[in-house]
């Protein structure tokens, strides 16, 4: 039995009498401490799957189980202590009028956890920010620092699963490298399970053990990391994504140098 099991998930949005199936019959399973990647272009339903796990999308079919238990309709506190999400845009995901201290201590207050002071400081240290940043507002931080705060916030309750929705696509290349390194280190240290979404195949390849390619809300193909490196894919769409990936553009460096 896997840690996260998604079986035949379908998400349907209804607007003005029209139905849009954002996700159709997607099944996947992720083991504990595994890092699993979802890749696809805009509208492929990759983010919707993460939102469905959090109860933020209208699931119309299928089931989601975590550690063998079907998730309750109202996700509740037990869920948020286990599963947390990091969003794409750190400029939008932090409350602009709350200090970092308030943002980080809010989950502790809701869950009635003690030692808030020490935990906030520890969380900042864990993500490589100076403790003095507690009393700053988001606009006083750079994009990379904000994303570190967003990661710290997600880790406040010591979750076991982190859902990462394009965590570095709003960041510069050099800052992306720092944030990816941070995520890898935290996964190692805290034994986290990652479910990560990105449109960048190279980022997903760097971070994940197995990868699912999605298109128009359906599964195209599941690829292991080894097969991706060997360009061993079965479907033309996965291949076209691979060929169009910016990583391929440096041609010569991708082949040798290993």
């Amino acid at each position: 039995m896997s840690f996260i099991e998604i079986d035949n998930l379908t998400v349907t949005f209804r607007a003005q009498g029209r139905e849009v199936r954002a996700v159709e019959g997607v099944s996947l399973s992720v083991d504990e401490r595994e890092s699993y990647g979802l890749v696809g272009e805009s509208g492929s339903g990759k983010s919707t799957i993460l939102r469905a796990i959090c109860g933020m999308a209208p699931v119309s079919g299928g089931s989601i189980r975590i550690a063998g238990k079907v998730l309750p309709a109202q996700r509740g506190r037990a869920f948020s202590a286990d599963v947390q999400m990091v969003f794409q845009d750190p400029y939008a995901s932090l409350h602009p009028r709350h200090t970092i201290d308030r943002t980080l201590s809010e989950p502790l207050a809701i869950h009635g956890m003690p030692d808030r002071d020490a935990r906030v400081v520890q969380a900042l240290v864990d993500v490589g920010l100076p403790p003095a940043f507690r009393f700053r507002y988001p606009h006083q931080l750079s994009g990379g620092q904000r994303q570190r705060v967003a990661i710290a916030r997600a880790l406040m309750l010591k979750p076991r699963i982190l859902l990462l929705d394009e965590p570095t696509s709003a960041l510069d290349a050099s800052v992306q490298a720092e944030v990816l390194n941070l995520l890898s280190r935290l996964r190692e240290e805290q034994g986290l399970t990652f479910l990560m979404v990105s449109h960048d195949l190279a980022v997903i390849d760097h971070m994940c053990d197995r990868i699912m390619v999605l298109q128009h809300g359906r599964t195209v193909e599941e690829i292991s990391r080894d097969d991706l490196a060997k360009a061993n894919m079965n479907t033309p769409y996965a291949r076209s994504l691979f060929e169009a990936s910016a990583d391929r553009m440096l041609g010569s460096t991708t082949e040798p140098a290993r």
């Binding site: 272009e41 805009s42 994009g143 490298a177 390194n181 449109h199 390849d205 760097h206 553009m249």
Partner: protein
């Protein structure tokens, strides 16, 4: 003779805490080729592009030793003549179609507006020309797109509409500021091949501004790498991997690669540069 010549360009913003230089002495010349300008946020790449069109508003100011386009001095040209140059001879494609198209005008009206006012074309002629431009950027259903509002188009379509709009006056120079950053990789490839075709077929000059070194390396002939308002390296795109400057090397190395090693990615040493 080169199409565009920029010597020692500076863009300064006067702020309450004193002047801030966004561009600190950039020089380059451009022929009928594809020049890439790469850099991270705040490197001054966008400001360089905008300064060429003198699109920097106070409190910003532009200074340079020389800035000539096709033999004309665009640094000291009266605003009136500058306006005649913008769009018609130098076009600019902005990053995000969502913010650069007028949301309350149909695509058709936006595309024909310039043709009717500037070129004094009749309605039917203007529409025909706009449709031809949409076809040139490989929009399959130009009549539908003409009647659509920007919010009814996808990001890729919107970006193509912007390119079409810039190409109607057949400019000699196109400045494209992150034209594909908001697009999916497969759409990105299409937009790039459209731009590529235009440079080849029309002999247009192109300044391609991007944060993505790999993209620029594949698409451009020559690359300027900018950092903190300065050009740290100018290099033929084909030789990018042999870049000498530590900043350029750092930018290249910090990118993850498919099938690359799993260990921590090298990060830029910010103290050194």
């Amino acid at each position: 003779m080169s199409l565009l010549e920029v010597r020692n360009l500076r863009v300064t913003f006067d702020t309450e805490t004193g002047p801030v230089q966004a561009v600190r002495g950039v020089s380059f010349s451009l022929g009928r080729e594809r020049l890439g300008i790469v850099g991270e946020s705040g490197s001054g790449k966008t400001m360089t592009g905008r300064a060429v069109l003198r699109l920097i508003r106070p409190p910003g100011r532009i200074e340079a030793e020389a800035m000539t386009f096709d033999g004309q001095d665009i640094l000291n040209m009266p605003e009136r003549e500058m306006r005649a140059l913008r769009g018609k001879r130098i076009g600019m494609v902005m990053q995000d179609p969502k913010y650069s198209l007028n949301p309350v005008m149909t695509v058709g009206r936006q595309l024909t507006e310039g043709l009717r006012l500037r070129d004094r074309l009749g309605r039917a002629d203007a529409v025909a020309k706009a449709i031809a431009a949409l076809e040139a950027v490989q929009i399959r259903d130009p009549h539908r797109v003409m009647d659509a509002y920007p919010h009814e188009l996808s990001g890729g379509m919107g970006q193509r509409v912007m390119i079409a709009m810039m190409l109607i006056p057949e400019p000699d120079l196109l400045i494209a500021d992150e034209p594909t950053s908001a697009l999916d990789v497969t759409v990105q490839a299409e937009v790039l091949s459209i731009l590529d075709g235009l440079v080849r077929d029309r002999g247009m000059g192109l300044i391609f501004i991007s944060h993505d070194l790999r993209l620029v390396a594949r698409f451009c002939d020559r690359v300027l790498v900018m950092h903190k308002g300065l050009v740290v390296e100018e290099i033929a795109a084909a030789n990018l991997l042999a870049a000498k400057h530590p900043y350029t090397q750092g930018l290249l190395n910090c990118l993850p690669r498919i099938g690359g090693p799993r260990g921590p990615l090298p990060v830029l040493d910010r103290t050194g540069v």
